[in-house]
Amino acid sequence: MKKIINQPDNYIKEMLEGIYIAHKDDLTCVDGDLQVLVSKHKKEGKVGIVTGGGSGHLPLFLGYVGKGMIDGCAVGDVFQSPSVDQAIALTRDADQGAGVLYIYGNYNGDIFTFRPAADEVEMEDDIETAEVLGADDVASAGPSAPGEKSTRRGVAGIFFVYKCAGAAADKMLSLEEVKRVADKANNNVRTMGVALTPCTVPRVGKPSFEIEDDEMEIGMGIHGEPGIRRGKLEPADQIVDEMLEKIVADLPYEKGDEVAVLVNGLGATPLDEQYIVTRRINQVLEEKGISVYKYYVGEYATAIEMAGFSISLLKLDDELKEYIDHPVDTPFFKQV
């Protein structure tokens, strides 16, 4: 395990200490628990938006805590959900009088964390809550029947859900409305990833899986969950074509649609490659008659030091465009 760390057991604690030091004007923790991270910038009467999940995905999740986006994050150990108590403390702090929306990924452990927390604060503190579960990974499971619970996992697309819901909350919409916006973004986003190398969870100490030097795995999840196809590494354009084929067909995104695109590096893949990919995405979408309103390129949701990337498409309407354009000022993501 080649990492710049001290004791693996202190990984999260020391990482968080660094974050609070570097961003001391903007971030703080609740009751001395470093794993309950909240924005210092409250806005009376605004719907609180909170998230949480395992670490190892920076800037996801906590990186989007700040002005114009979300209010707090319960930070789990690497690839581990935070605890129910942390989620409760987080919710109490994030409530600014208008209720709290949970936005988190569709994972077992996170559901087990946030649902009991929501029950608790509704009962004990009379805080109104709602939840939206990110489930954008088209490679992780088939689509769910209308009204049925999605079995897809949440990956980088949750960025768009934060972005839109965060803007709606910042515009002082009600909890019901903010949830509606979050749902709309969530229902209109699809993602697929590809991995070239594994990652190593510090406390585990060895790579999450094995893969040959000339292989890639299309559809791999951000914890190294198996994808839909393992094969020889192909040229960037071919990889993009295969991923987009699946993504576009899924919603489906259609001729005349307008989308926002997120090209997300998984950790070790240089920005250069992400832009080579961006170029191809633009060619393919142009051919399909889908126009791109805005590109986001960079590391938005990583898998520690995994090499690879994901593509997310968000179908826009006038309302979502307005929220996409809304300014954001967080330590990890700024939009002027």
């Binding site: 605890s83 129910v84 452990g109 999450s208 914890h223």
Partner: protein, 213 residues
């Protein structure tokens, strides 16, 4: 004897902690095959945290189990914290008013354990999870009791069923948890949670039998 004292059975919780600590690496190794290789680490973290909380205090069985359940629920994230947290919490509740742990009380405990899990998880027998150990173990205990077997015999039946259930996960395709993404690739290896659950059930079973002896 046909029962043992709640007050004297805190040792069962001690045994549980020792077992998980001992099996840490084995549990991670199994989880590494079709999961992410951290099951032993997660379990050990929670149980060792509980050990620290209990240190220097006196506790009966229900108090020990309460502390264990709370520790897992409050401090341990992941799937395991809530699942085993609820399991031990329900077991504790089922015996907290009992001075003596009789076969009936224990039946309530193991039934509560199953309910605790099923309260939050939709997992069914056959999905390749700890449920495959737990549910048959509970059923075997209850059936044996209804068939008029004594407490120790019921515990034997439970232990046997737990082992069989655990082993059954080898041939199953995972339908829940991380491994479910693997489909057919998940067949052929034991499930990590079913393994830890086997250790937990049989540790309780054996410790209880010693207290009965």
């Amino acid at each position: 004897m046909s029962s043992f004292k709640n007050a004297e059975a805190g040792v069962i919780v001690d045994q549980l902690i020792k077992t998980i600590q001992k099996e840490r690496d084995y549990l991670s190794e199994i989880d590494g095959k079709i999961g992410d290789g951290d099951h032993g680490i997660n379990m050990n973290k929670g149980f060792t945290m509980c050990e620290k909380k209990l240190e220097g205090t006196t506790y009966n069985l229900s108090e020990g189990l309460t502390t264990l359940g709370e520790t897992l629920l409050e401090d341990i994230g992941g799937s395991m914290g809530p699942l085993y947290g609820m399991l031990f919490d329900e077991m504790a509740q089922a015996c907290e008013d009992a001075d003596d742990i009789t076969v009936d009380v224990f039946a309530d405990m193991i039934t509560g354990a199953v309910e605790g899990i099923q309260d939050i998880s939709p997992a069914q027998v056959g999905d390749k999870s700890l449920i495959d150990t737990l549910v048959p173990a509970k059923e075997a205990f209850v059936e044996a009791k209804e068939a008029g077997k004594d407490f120790a015999e019921c515990l034997d039946a439970m232990n046997e069923a737990a082992e069989k259930g655990w082993q059954s996960t080898k041939d199953l395709v995972a339908k829940i948890g991380r491994a479910s993404r693997l489909g057919e690739r998940s067949r052929g290896v034991l499930d990590a949670g079913a393994t830890s659950c086997y250790f937990i059930i049989t540790t309780i079973g054996n410790a209880a039998k010693e207290l009965l002896a």
